[in-house]
Homo-oligomer: 245 residues x 4
Amino acid sequence: MAKRHATAAVIGAGDYIGSEIAKKFAAEGFTVFAGRRNADKLAPLVKEVEAAGGTIQARSLDARKEDEITAFLAEADRHAPLEVCIFNVGANVNFPILDTTERVFRKVWEMACYGGFLAGREAARLMLPRGQGHIFFTGATASLRGGIGYAAFASAKFGLRAVAQSMARELGPKNIHVAHLVIDSGVDTEWVRQRRIEALGPDALNNPDLLMPPASVADAYWQLYSQPRSAWTFEMEIRPFGEKW
Amino acid sequence: MAKRHATAAVIGAGDYIGSEIAKKFAAEGFTVFAGRRNADKLAPLVKEVEAAGGTIQARSLDARKEDEITAFLAEADRHAPLEVCIFNVGANVNFPILDTTERVFRKVWEMACYGGFLAGREAARLMLPRGQGHIFFTGATASLRGGIGYAAFASAKFGLRAVAQSMARELGPKNIHVAHLVIDSGVDTEWVRQRRIEALGPDALNNPDLLMPPASVADAYWQLYSQPRSAWTFEMEIRPFGEKW
Amino acid sequence: MAKRHATAAVIGAGDYIGSEIAKKFAAEGFTVFAGRRNADKLAPLVKEVEAAGGTIQARSLDARKEDEITAFLAEADRHAPLEVCIFNVGANVNFPILDTTERVFRKVWEMACYGGFLAGREAARLMLPRGQGHIFFTGATASLRGGIGYAAFASAKFGLRAVAQSMARELGPKNIHVAHLVIDSGVDTEWVRQRRIEALGPDALNNPDLLMPPASVADAYWQLYSQPRSAWTFEMEIRPFGEKW
Amino acid sequence: MAKRHATAAVIGAGDYIGSEIAKKFAAEGFTVFAGRRNADKLAPLVKEVEAAGGTIQARSLDARKEDEITAFLAEADRHAPLEVCIFNVGANVNFPILDTTERVFRKVWEMACYGGFLAGREAARLMLPRGQGHIFFTGATASLRGGIGYAAFASAKFGLRAVAQSMARELGPKNIHVAHLVIDSGVDTEWVRQRRIEALGPDALNNPDLLMPPASVADAYWQLYSQPRSAWTFEMEIRPFGEKW
């Protein structure tokens, strides 16, 4: 593995998508800075990346705190120039509108939208003086559709998409690639598997083609990273081939 | 004027659009409850509505406070059944991404999105037991497009649109009409006129066809209110005939 | 009924939506020119309109023939200035892609898209010298979504929407109101009722709230016609309150 | 270069995008079948591909003729299994609505939409029995926006997008990847360069970052081809980093 003098920051380095992104960019030679609420939970990821010859730093990070985001990205940038920043914090909840508390509405927004704004802005601040960089945001079906029960989640995801669009239009001409990756399906996590079984019965998982492997999301991000600047994608949607949409 | 035993609440009863909505629904016989930060500023509106034979109550209201929204709508509903609730709080700002402070981002969201969620949810809570009502939200170009400098405003407006969509899908079958009115142009206010002159020079206002009269927005809301439930519109866009889009 | 010195042309005056549009505009004092493939089938409509004191002319019209469209609108305009032209030709078919013949694909396009282009262009030609008019197009769910089996129909409806958009942007500043009305549900016709019963069983029609009454579509067109030019809608979606979307 | 036992068909193999697609897939080991109106014009492409060690067959092809499309793809498939079919016929014209003749409207549709339907359907017919394949369509800004003067072109491109969507939803679960690539900028061709100079003056081309290199479009198609079926993209937009949008 050829090491690069560059860092990739993953904000929201959860057990599934975030970890796969971290592994992918580490495997490509980046030093990865991985942040999640409790850095202890990153131990297996660190072990796996290092066993494969990669370099990774795990940090506890509350993405809703401006000073924590700023410090996290600044540290990554001191290590080596921050070239990629991927915001991947999720907060998928579903409540009837009358049961959506102001606390839930605010918290989901802080995690999935406000944190993305902070991460994007601070990454841009570090990248602009060098005139290059990649800032990517993870979207979902709810980024484009406000379904029943999704007032809180879709509102945050719509809002994150607006941040990404606004940044892409401003920063593209300055050679910063801003993209929004829309995952239009369930992702293959333990939690999603359990929910499907509860909702649809024990046969719900017989069709393996309806859940997206987290590693495929990482591959999509790598595609976005690999694009020449003469043909950048802002929005890219991905779904498993068997998905109904 | 035939009086109705029904109230229409206008949250964000500013000098232009909000006031015209209040006048329109008062002229149609509703008791209007008009809320804005400083109720003193509503004195001219109250005078005008009452001179025309209408009924209106002016209230100071911070739409970012759950208890204030709840109390405002509850009072309106005690007066007569709350039949219409229109959320019209704006917060149009434009900053380069690096100059968009977390304070601005949060405040714009609290005003333009979070307040709309609170208003919509509380209106629904009052309307659902009676199985009827109308909940309308004012949108803008930035509800659909994240332009340069609009990370904060577009994020809030996208988010409000998601709230409206999610509520429309859940509440429509329960006979609550939820709609989102997209004003895709500048509105004819003193502030917009000044900005246009600053940006485009003294001739900027020679073409009177490019700014939307606030009264036309009120007419559009009346059209939405007048629709039979067999043919409800969720999203309606309006623009002056001379607008480029 | 106050008669107007103005005509409204309805192209595609079928038994349901087209007839209701004709009745509505006749009731508002327009002389209506109603065209459909076989004018004989318009006899009941003519009888009903005239019994109500309205004025209507029925014509056989193949909307896929440029000379027929031109002659139809020219005759209407000679009678009294053509103020409204509504294109309402449908061609809803569903076939798996391999069973979609080139003949079907072409015919559906000629009826639902090409005919609309001809009608819109010729209406504009008559209206532009007078600097006013209204040109409306009937859209459907398939105007915005290419569902399974709808390669032919959605392609034509997408294409019609593009014609409408392009005309709206060019003609709006010239005081011609171009609008696209998206009916996002089944319409209450005998054919749709039969299809639902076949697909869902005899109880399919127990819920009366899921099919749109044709008269409600006519009302929506009247709303579009009634808008002040300071706040024109280009695209308006309507659906029954019970519709899932 | 490792040769594959597979063909890639390029329908609309013009001097720019189509040729680059052909070169890319030939360089990856596919036998390329390249079709355009006049196969003689493909001689330089054939020479270049063969000099690089690739395999290519040039054919005269009128994409508006069902029998020619069928024969072209059948021949490709006899050579080796048809794995990729890319429809790239363009027909960009701009006319005021009153100057858009029925002949232009029909011809643009036949080239840019009807031909795409034929190509997609016939490719699917060959691919379905083997349960795999890739069918891609080239889109443009006008696939999503009906601008002034684009009634004919946007109508055809909207229509093509509907064909692609409808096919994607039907064929995805059968392991056929259907995608629509939206090029949201001018492409760097001699014709576009001349138009820009005419419109904007001799300095129009000083900024090299506003036109998309045809080879970058080919790269984007290769990215789509390379996606795992667990994460297919249906619609992907690309634009140069300096583009305003």
